[in-house]
Symmetry: D2
């Protein structure tokens, strides 16, 4: 598709999500890492010397030798992938967006009206916000966000069901992996042989209760009309490394039977533009019929961590339909999600 | 209360729950282990020589020396505590109940109309079924059951709320410890760094969706009128040793505010007859205000494993009120629950 | 190298090691699965319908459809890979070896004089035993074994050190993953938040204390002269999924300094014939300089699970040199080891 | 023994070890917590409001209400228990020791010549150093230390063997719990499904390789003559909460058989003065005959966490005798060890 690879910056490259971006871009067909930024402690040093690498594959050699740059100085790249902490993102992302396309995993701007919140398989139409964003803010670049890592586990199967049956209410209980808290994140003394029934003191639940409304909304004249869905989230941290599980119970305008819901889930195909992106998995949504799946350790790596999984689709005695959903929180739910958004920007011609 | 300790049999004493009964009765003020029964492999041998002891305290010396007896031969004891597997329980418990009081942790008879299903703090009034049970079956003894180990985590806080506000619908997501599956139970290869989103292929959920209706029912003329509650349960197995967590969302006839719900929970006191039983904890229901509690490793042992805990009481955007409940599954939820029922039989004069 | 792929049987294909063999052979350039054998329960059924698949990738589709065959009937294949339990292996492997080449992961014949015990990087010269084996036993095929999964973690770094300095005494403490016990194997109730300081009631230690003597022996006139090494092994089971760690302290005839030992380890290259086998990793032995490596989760998958790792090479106050070694127990230490032996048989012309 | 309880200060009361001290002294028959000290952040606030309580029992109510004091101001107490970090201990402990008896768990002064390093069951005779310590330093109080939490697992069984057979060489491999690193300590991302083969970058091994020489030394004219023992330690961090396991192989001047070693271990009795201290367990050293013990989860709480355990006593093919030892690292190996030293000071008349 491209004659030469586009230069990409990774903002906040030393953290857990930044490391995943570095790992996933090591052999990317469209993108080439041109800039890695980090905090004061790391600036001016080779990335490999200052990063506390926590992934299970070695640091890519080329990245290891790159000198870490300050986040404050906007570089001349085609795309900036942001793995910045929220407060740093709030300052730095607009600076970068003024000149280049920013695909951010941070939550700072997800709910802002003119900022697209995108899962490519779910709502690529929110790219339409960019025109207004550029006009109103005077940006040459743009800012696109991907949702919270637990939100995406739930929204992937809810999207086709919403389209078919009209989602009205949904109760989501999550079992979230420790990698979602970054590094060092959750202390082992807190989580071995234990469960913590809260994350970010209610903040995680607030995101899960609001983001799906924007993700499942409609774009009308450059604005998102949020879906009117009542959402309840109860989150827990569990002693596993990767993979967020969501137990979902939902009611719909047109009460589907479990069989009807299953048929819709199994028939889900992403929009044409998404299907051929380099990071798109062969199957966006894997539907399990085995009664004990999906399981994080056995299903999180499906589609190189980019496939979502759903199973145990059943009638619910309280709402209409129940199911169990899963996705890899640091790949599909963070670094890979931001990269997929970047690929979408290229495929749609916004970045070239 | 008693001049001498009552002789007690433990049926199925070598399994995980049977071991807990042996442990909990080692120094019991009212009961003395008189008989331990086991499977063919173990009969005729000293208990200490055939049991694969899995608890974290040593085998009580007296029990270790007792010779294991066959379950089929009814012994002359005041009470039989049953930790039998369901199929064995179905055969053996009526034989014992014909002569003595049986307090069973097995599920075989929980839903049978004339068999009390009792949590002493919740519904000691179901003891009233015993009269009819004896009359119709011609038993000198009786059969009383305690609920499933996950049911109890949810019902302890739901009881006072139901009394105050009229429970109508409840959604329960559980995170259950591996000890709930007995020994050897869950393979480590299945659960380390993993979650299994099902237990007993739907059987666990079926129990949680039916037992609370009987537990929260009313006794009218020797029969239980079940509470009309819609219950949805989604269960998971998680990599922790002990302690079942239940994420609960509920709606009530009289929509309580979270503050009203909290006030009722904090004001809960068990019936007078229960408060002074030897295994009754000082606090039947511990209400947590800290936003990250209850946690299994830190709260399961409260009240020597007999206290239930609840926290995160909040408004629910889908139903009315949400909360997180916890109890120790092999103590409060199994062995300790059966023993508490036995103590209730004594305190109420049914056994003497 | 080969014009068409050789037909291979996997004996005992439904167990943990058999599953790994099926997984690793799914896209093998030289071998094609022709036969899968299993126990009575599974014979006559499609493999995918009877296997309790425990790996983290899906069952290969072609294998899933194959009908499981009885182990007792020798099939017409080029190679049989054996993942049989010891007692079954003792009966079945000679039957197969009479007609075909058997590469066995079972321990039944490892210590028998005319049976090669081979790690291709360490002692391919034991292939020389096959001539005698065939002559004395009247076999057309042959029987070759690979060592215990913990033995290999230790022997990979000890081999070059032995060649250079003459190994005399070695103390090995292991921390072994639960997958080494097969499925269901270790009960989660025994190992979560726990260590078990024994495996197979001393049997694992007996293997680690004897197998290296044969592996590091010399072949003289078709017989193995075992290396005269004193070996002490203390094994433990730890709560991790894959990867056996060995803490090694060793003394040598020519007391090397840690620097000399490091230089030898870093200079290790396998024999030429081994380097180009399809399953040979790029690096047979990865030497870590970081002071907290190797770690099982971060290093077990190096070289697709076929590289061994070693680190913390230091002087020992009691013996001469200490180090920490690691390898993937079900890939390098079992299924992958047997496959590498099969590849060696082909490369050496014994199988064609 | 005492008419009223002695006032005690806990220095560094908010950390992991400090919390254990608070927990263990809640109902102590001899001691009463009079002062809790903490860092700048916590001074002037109620302990319960600033401590991040990580233990599995509630904060003792009385302690929760106490106002945290600065460590720099020496209070008028009978004994100060120090759970200070090493660098703070280096400054503060001499200030306190000038006026009162300090029992320290910190490593700052363990190896200093005039500072006793004591395990009461092993070497109470090092109390004899105090006289010289007071004379030379002009202290009214004194400073006594307890060893590293992994050292003690090994020394408890080595002491009686050394007395009987003369320890010469010992190789110690440890599997250490995460609580040994304090809070937050080990990141869950580093240790779930993983092993780390180093602690404190060699620092832990240095302690284990030196402290036993002082602990097993002889006191001659107010000075410790260290035991001449060659010690090799290889440490690992494993994913368990509490309990340090030590795999030990040792050689002795008089080569004992395993049976002789077992007889000595089973015959071990602590010095008379130690046996009746309030924190002394009924059995100082529990000798296991079962071939899969000791195990951390099942044996760490023996004797309320104060008993040491040893098992698998066997002949060693490289040295003379092997065994597996275990003790609770934050009770026996830290907080409980310091308290036992304090009790020893009282029983010996040094504090009154």
């Amino acid at each position: 598709m491209l004659h030469k690879r586009l230069p990409v910056a990774i903002l906040g490259a030393t953290g857990a999500v930044g490391q995943r971006m570095v790992q996933l871009l090591a052999d990317h067909p469209w993108f080439e890492i041109a800039v890695l930024t980090g905090s004061d402690r790391t600036i001016g040093h080779p990335y490999g010397g200052v990063v506390r690498w926590i992934l299970d594959t070695p640091i890519p050699e080329r990245a290891a030798k790159m000198i870490v740059q300050p986040t404050e100085i906007v570089a001349d790249v085609a795309i900036a992938l942001s793995a910045l902490p929220t407060d740093v993102a709030r300052e730095a992302e607009p600076l970068w967006a003024a000149r280049t396309a920013v695909c951010s995993n941070a939550s700072a701007y997800r709910t802002v009206a003119d900022v697209p919140l995108i899962i490519p398989e779910v709502n690529p139409d929110q790219l339409a916000l960019i025109e207004r964003q550029r006009a109103e803010r005077g940006w040459q670049g743009c800012l696109v966000t991907n949702p919270n890592c637990a939100t995406i586990s739930a929204v992937m199967p809810l999207k086709p069901l919403h389209d078919a049956f009209g989602l009205q209410k949904v109760h989501i209980s999550t079992l979230q992996a420790v990698s979602g808290a970054g590094y060092p994140g959750v202390a082992s003394l807190d989580i071995i042989d234990n469960i913590i029934p809260n994350i970010a003191d209610g903040g995680e639940e607030a995101k899960i209760e609001s983001e799906p409304r924007k993700l499942l909304g409609r774009v009308v004249e450059g604005r998102v009309i949020e879906a009117q869905i009542a959402i309840s989230a109860q989150v827990t941290r569990v002693p596993i490394i990767d993979g967020h599980t969501a137990l979902i119970a939902a009611s719909f305008a047109q009460k589907p039977s479990p069989e009807e819901a299953l048929a819709v889930l199994e028939g889900f195909t992403p929009p044409e533009i998404v299907r051929h992106l380099p990071s798109s998995p062969e199957q966006a949504l894997i539907v399990h019929r085995a009664s004990d799946r999906p399981q994080p350790r056995r299903d999180r790596d499906a589609g190189r961590g980019m496939s979502a999984s759903v199973g145990r689709v059943r009638a619910c005695p309280v709402l209409d339909v129940r199911m169990v959903a899963l996705s890899h929180n640091t790949i599909r739910g963070a670094a890979g999600g931001a990269i997929l958004n970047a690929e979408l920007l290229v495929a749609s011609g916004i970045v070239s």
